[in-house]
Symmetry: C2
Subunit: 261 residues, 2 copies
């Protein structure tokens, strides 16, 4: 049996009727003491993908309905369409009689088509020249997610010292702890695994309503350069964009979420 925590904690067991059993562990908890939403997404995306039996996860739209708890959960999946290039399904995450999250996702393979990149990866110093905000920057925060993800930043974020920069953009390196291989569901997790950039405009937190992730390609081994930015805060809600770039300079994923301040 695998001893890999990511592998264990995102696994679900099929019953054969599209329903899968899984356990949300306490090893991906945020500072609020709840399982991270990106962790739920990775487990759901992996389980639905195994039910569909198709290609790579390609796009995932998740809506968070209720606050998750650690413990046993049920993933109720259904396949909506098996197309030639794209396979689509949905999955509902339930804990007892509580509907926690709903996922609509597509899978497929991308081969042979055109590639044109007009974006650029975040201009970060090499990871070895960066600080670890999990230990150097946030001395008072304990959360098990800091044991699952390695973070590296050019400098301590301003909000950690009570001095938000005023610019809701954060750039950092991320990888799964100990350099564990990052698959496509793990990329979806890494789109929502760090503190929201609205902390740099003086907000104390943010709760995701809806998150859509585009998974463009598997990363080369190494760190993931991450750009998080919020440009629009409107009547108590904000959008947040994320780009993930691998060490070869390829965009591997991007996401956008709508969240409540």
């Amino acid at each position: 049996m695998s001893e890999d925590i990511y592998d264990l904690d995102t696994a679900s067991t099929p019953r054969g009727d599209g329903i899968r059993d899984l356990t949300l562990t306490d090893r991906w908890n945020t500072p609020l003491g709840k399982p991270n939403g990106g962790y739920l997404l990775a487990a759901m995306l992996r389980g639905l993908g195994e039910e569909i039996g198709g290609g790579d996860a390609m796009v995932a739209a998740i809506t968070y309905l209720a606050s998750p708890e650690t413990g046993p959960a049920e993933l109720r999946t259904s396949t909506l369409r098996r197309g030639r290039r794209v396979q689509t399904g949905e999955a509902a995450l339930w804990e007892g009689d509580r509907h926690i999250a709903q996922l609509l996702a597509s899978y497929g393979s991308r081969t042979g088509g055109r590639t044109l990149e007009l974006g650029t990866s975040p201009p970060l110093p090499p990871p070895g020249a960066c600080v670890d905000p999990g230990t150097e920057g946030m001395p008072d925060v304990t959360a098990s997610i800091f044991d699952r993800v390695d973070y590296r930043m050019a400098s301590r974020p301003g909000w950690v010292d009570g001095l938000p920069s005023g610019d809701p953009t954060v750039e950092l390196w991320q990888r799964l702890a100990d350099g564990r291989e990052i698959d496509l569901p793990a990329l979806a997790f890494l789109c929502d695994s760090f503190a929201p950039p609205v902390l740099e405009i003086g907000e104390l937190g943010s709760m995701t309503v809806q998150l859509t992730v585009h998974l463009h390609r598997r990363p080369v081994p190494g760190w993931i350069a991450t750009r998080l930015t919020t440009r629009h805060v409107i009547n108590g809600f904000h959008e947040e964009d994320c780009e993930l770039w691998d060490e070869a300079g390829n965009l591997v994923a991007q996401s956008r979420q709508l969240a409540i301040l």
Copy 2:
């Protein structure tokens, strides 16, 4: 009975069990002779919202599963959660035994929270100083959607004359024909109502797989300044972002889609 085409064509009739009947008309056809995907989204978002009976449409994630035809269709809705601030449901669009599209959407109201805008609206000349690409720019294209939407651009798009600019960004004014009021489902439509900007990098078309729209506020009466841009084309797929700004300079909606070249 209303004579307003937008109102008529996005209406659906409830059966009382969450299922609604509607007709996809031929009045929103693209140059490919099929109903526009944004039109489907507007009708689905409106019907689901009426079933949920809640607040304003706030975020919508739609996956297009099969090519739509004009004619009778069925909207199968279900409410997933009625929260204090956010109500969420899903809706499946069927035509006979064909599952055409699946929507996951949330509704609610935004009152009293913080607003901070870091983006800027497209620097377009006033609509009266712009050209109408529907008549001046695309003489060979016929599509009924050009009768439903008024378009104005600073100049003819390069691709119309076989001279794509190489820059997959398009800025234009849009409004519903005759200045018909633009509600939130209509904003969702306007995120996908014009030619894709990849035409400016020599592509001939694009097919949306998944589209997520954030609906931030109702626009003031007038034209909608629209910014469409593609920055990442990866192995035959591309993302496309849209921002919609009203004449008062407020961001009213934004969207991102994943599409196949």
